[in-house]
């Protein structure tokens, strides 16, 4: 990395400011997008010039293959038009199928190449290690070599985004981009390259290429979103991560109570970190007149795990739904399996009919969550995390009639606030169990933690253990107050579903807006974790 250009550095802010000035002052409207492209290329080179080859390769292969798919489609359409009268219906159908297979093969080529690179760089060592373990377990002496692989910046995000585009071109939902530089901008757009969101071509591309004029309100809203992101990331997440990293480092030393507290804090930290980063990305894009998809929608207020995954990392969920879930659930194999089950004796019963109906959906969900787990990291604990969520969703789909029946029998109104509260609490528990595998250093440690939740609770001992972590009482107060601020903001947003808080703020008096924004800025300046930090021990009066 030539400079530290993470989103929370002054370097990044000055970079955004410079890009903004050039973009809005750029004289040729038609080519304004080139400013964003230049900025994105500069950003990527500064952050990881050694790995720029990978993103260039993905962009180029995506560009060429999309054009190839489109060319095959166009050619076939032209031929079909020409042979409209000559060819009978069967021949046309055969030809269409042939073309479909051909297009699918080309698309598969793109997917194999690009997901292959991602899989190799991200998962090779994991699979090699696992293979060695498995074969070793059977007494076979085999050692697949581990490699010193470094992940290029944002590879998961840009690979998913590019492959989504390829599938969309294959499905003829979007035309192939003819300008390779425009496609490079779509793949590498700097506000989203580090942590998403994973955008859909149709939703993002035209915004990138449009010449946006300076708009004060949009800039103000963008800045407000960036400030909110900074608050979540710097004040809460980065402070809480001190405790989480310390626990992760010596995981086995902590008792059940300390780990319970850590998991709770992790839930807050993860949300604040991820959603904060996304807010910064979206805020920066908004300044340039580009609206990116909102990746979070108060996920901890979800009433079911299914709903949670519709509110958490929405862009990944959307991608998986569009490009994995539907193709799997709607595949002949799954539909036929459902139909087959329906034909059996079990399938004739009410329960059997329900299971046959939801079987494709539930199994597809399990597969999707297996991918979600693997996407999060190359470790069995992430696989366990994915499987846990997948199994819960699968069971909830299958057992839905039972739950509905129980609720009806107990005469519980679904709008009852206590019932809603119960559902939120229940969902949160399921999420927290999943997080155990995120924090634990291994699958086995995760299982130990779950056991110790019930067997090793000791508050005084936990206090003693956690007091050794370099966080002081002030930090816990800031985290708690920060959490309350997020909670209040989330409650307001839940109450006014379609209203953005920033729009609500616009309606307040100048003094109120001034005060709130001032408090926000000063809170980040004073309480944020940034810079190399002041270590009192270094500055003590050493010689006296």
């Amino acid at each position: 990395m030539l400079f530290n250009m993470t989103y929370t550095t002054l370097n990044f802010l000055f970079f955004v400011l410079a890009t903004m000035l050039v973009y809005f002052l750029f004289p040729v409207k038609k080519y304004k997008w080139t400013v964003l492209l230049a900025a994105s290329v500069f950003f990527y080179i500064v952050c990881g010039y050694k790995y720029a080859f990978y993103i260039l390769f993905t962009s180029l292969s995506t560009y060429l293959i999309a054009l190839w798919i489109e060319r095959v489609a166009d050619k076939s359409k032209k031929l079909l038009k020409e042979k409209k009268k000559e060819w009978d219906r069967d021949r046309k159908k055969n030809y269409k199928n042939k073309i479909k297979v051909q297009k699918r093969l080309i698309m598969t080529l793109a997917l194999l190449i690009n997901f292959g690179i991602l899989a190799f760089l991200k998962y090779y060592n994991f699979f090699a290690g696992s293979l060695n373990d498995v074969l070793g377990g059977f007494g076979i002496v085999f050692s697949a070599p581990t490699l010193n692989l470094v992940l290029p910046l944002g590879i998961s995000f840009y690979t998913f985004q590019s492959m989504g585009y390829i599938v969309d071109v294959y499905r003829e939902k979007t035309p192939a981009q003819r300008n390779p530089f425009k496609l490079l901008l779509f793949v590498s757009f700097f506000p989203q390259i580090i942590q998403g969101p994973i955008s859909i071509y149709d939703q993002l591309a035209h915004q990138l290429f449009e010449p946006h004029e300076f708009d004060f309100t949009r800039m103000k809203h963008g800045m407000e979103l960036i400030l909110w992101g900074f608050f979540k990331k710097l004040v809460i997440a980065d402070r809480a991560s001190v405790l989480i990293s310390a626990v992760e480092k010596d995981y086995a030393q902590y008792n059940g109570t300390a780990l319970t507290f850590t998991i709770l804090l992790y839930a807050l930290q993860l949300y604040a970190d991820f959603s904060g980063g996304i807010d910064i990305s979206r805020g920066v894009a908004q300044i340039f007149g580009i609206d990116m998809i909102d990746n979070f929608k108060r996920p901890y207020f979800s009433r079911s795990i299914n709903e949670y995954w519709r509110r958490w990392h929405i862009s990944l969920g959307g991608w998986l739904k569009n490009y994995l879930f539907y193709p799997v659930a709607m595949s002949n194999v799954f539909i036929n399996a459902g139909k087959k089950m329906k034909g059996t004796r079990f399938g004739k019963t009410a329960a059997g009919a329900h299971i046959a109906k939801v079987l494709p959906t539930s199994v597809a969900s399990l597969i999707v969550f297996l991918v979600v787990g693997i996407w999060h990291g190359a470790d069995w604990k992430y696989v366990a995390f994915g499987v846990w969520n997948g199994v819960i969703i699968m069971l909830s789909i299958i057992l839905q009639p039972l739950f509905d029946g129980a609720v009806d029998k107990l005469h519980i109104k679904r709008t009852n606030p206590f019932f809603i509260g119960f559902q939120i609490f229940r969902t949160l528990l399921v999420i927290l169990v999943g997080y155990v595998f995120d924090v634990a250093p291994s699958f086995a440690e995760g299982m130990r933690t779950l056991t110790e939740f019930f067997t090793a609770q000791n508050i005084p001992q936990a206090f003693e253990q956690l007091s050794k972590i370099p966080l002081i009482a002030h930090d816990y107060v800031v985290i708690a107050l920060g959490g309350v601020v997020i909670l209040i903001a989330s409650l307001i947003q839940e109450r006014h579903q379609d209203t953005d808080i920033r729009h609500m703020l616009d309606k307040k008096s100048f003094a109120t807006r001034f005060l709130l924004l001032y408090i926000g800025v000063m809170a980040v300046v004073i309480f944020g974790i940034y810079g190399s930090g002041y270590n009192a021990a270094d500055f003590v009066y050493m010689q006296f």
Binding site: F3, N4, F510, F514, D538, F539, Y541, M542, F544
Partner: protein
């Protein structure tokens, strides 16, 4: 949009940005600042009226605990200031000389040798020592040059906006209130009472006997660390180029076997400095002749207490007048008044420390509100050497 709306919006935005910037500057200057005696000393230097100083001293704690500008003014009539900082680096020394050239034109610059006498060059990169001096320098071409040359890219903003580094200090309140008040009162008053002097009221009882009596005979030399020697030569070249009247000194220490090599390095440094035609007063070697009592005049092995500082000040001030032939600029009436206050405060501080040491209390004494508030109970009359 109407023109009026446009203007209103611009004014509101500018007002918000202005308030935020002012708030950050106030926080950076007074609240979330690593205020200690170093910052008060360095900041105080820049409050001195232009060309009002006859002598400026540069160095580490070895000089700001040894030389009392108030006493020197009282005895010899020249004004001086200690532009010194705890464990200042050799780069810091050179920057300080450049800053003196930029801000004052004293008749003499005195450089204490400590920064060049380390056995290794680790001090040059000690983050705390570098920050203690450079954080407190105002924006100038010299500060920017240092940052550009020596600070890693990812830390540069912290030197330009120290709030980035020190914003976490809010956790140290209310304990830091008195330092914040010291900073604020110094700015409001506009000048430093002690002109950078700082001490600890304590009498050092060394476990190993001092070798000071043997030092006048010590002529042995030991090579300087190559990096520090290069820095020294670089500094000497600069001084020559600028035609500065510079004097190098080594203040007395409680020398033991452990620190004996520094004496030999000091001898080597003296040779280098003299090659360039500058004087080097190896007062460390002359401690006994100056009258420094190793049973009474130190508060630790590296620093003299007020008893030693008084003797050293008298000795050095006299040499500066007689041997360096310093021409003293006459002060204006107002400035003379201020310097009388400096003399009074210095004498009060001496008596305050004397009182503490007689009672056996150990306490730091410097330009902070707590120390200054205690001085009122003591006489500011001239100190008679015991």
């Amino acid at each position: 949009m109407k023109f009026q709306q446009y203007v209103t919006r611009t004014v509101k935005t500018a007002l918000f940005l202005l308030v935020v910037m002012v708030s950050c500057l106030v926080l950076q200057q007074y609240v979330l600042r690593n205020t200690d005696h170093n910052s008060l000393r360095v900041e105080g230097y820049y409050q001195e009226p232009i060309d009002s100083l006859d002598v400026v001293f540069i160095g580490a704690s070895d000089i700001y605990t040894s030389f009392m500008p108030g006493r020197a003014y009282e005895q010899q009539g020249f004004t001086s200031y200690l532009l010194a900082s705890e464990s200042i680096t050799s780069e810091g020394v050179k920057t300080a000389v450049k800053e003196i050239v930029r801000t004052q034109h004293p008749g003499l610059i005195v450089i204490e040798a400590n920064a060049f006498l380390y056995g290794d060059a680790d001090n040059e990169t000690n983050e705390a020592h570098v920050h203690k001096f450079f954080d407190n320098l105002p924006f100038s071409i010299n500060k920017l040059e240092y940052i550009q040359k020596h600070v890693p890219v990812d830390q540069r903003w912290e030197y330009l906006f120290p709030l980035i580094k020190y914003h976490g200090l809010w956790t140290e309140y209310p304990e830091r209130f008195h330092m914040m008040a010291s900073n604020l009162t110094l700015d409001m008053r506009g000048y430093n009472y002690l002109k950078g002097f700082r001490t600890t009221a304590e009498i050092y009882k060394g476990k190993t006997p001092s070798l000071n009596a043997k030092l006048p005979e010590e002529k042995g030399e030991l090579e300087l660390n190559p990096k520090l020697q290069a820095q020294l030569k670089n500094l000497l070249d600069y001084c020559k180029e600028q035609k500065l009247h510079v004097l190098f000194v080594r203040a007395p220490h409680y020398v033991t076997e452990e620190t004996y090599n520094r004496v030999k390095r000091s001898n080597k440094m003296a040779s280098i400095v003299r090659e360039y035609g500058y004087n080097y007063y190896a007062c460390e070697n002359e401690a006994v002749n100056i009258g420094i009592d190793d049973k009474r005049d130190f508060y630790n092995a590296d620093h003299m207490n007020v008893y030693g500082a008084l003797k050293f000040t008298d000795y050095l001030a006299e040499k500066i007048i007689k041997e360096e032939e310093l021409k003293i600029d006459p002060l204006k009436a107002g400035a003379t008044e201020d310097w009388r206050e400096v003399v009074t405060s210095t004498n009060q501080l001496y008596r305050y420390c004397d009182d503490l040491m007689t009672k056996g209390d150990v306490k730091g004494a410097q330009e902070d509100v707590l120390t200054l508030a205690s001085l009122g109970n003591y006489s500011g009359a001239t100190i008679e050497r015991k």
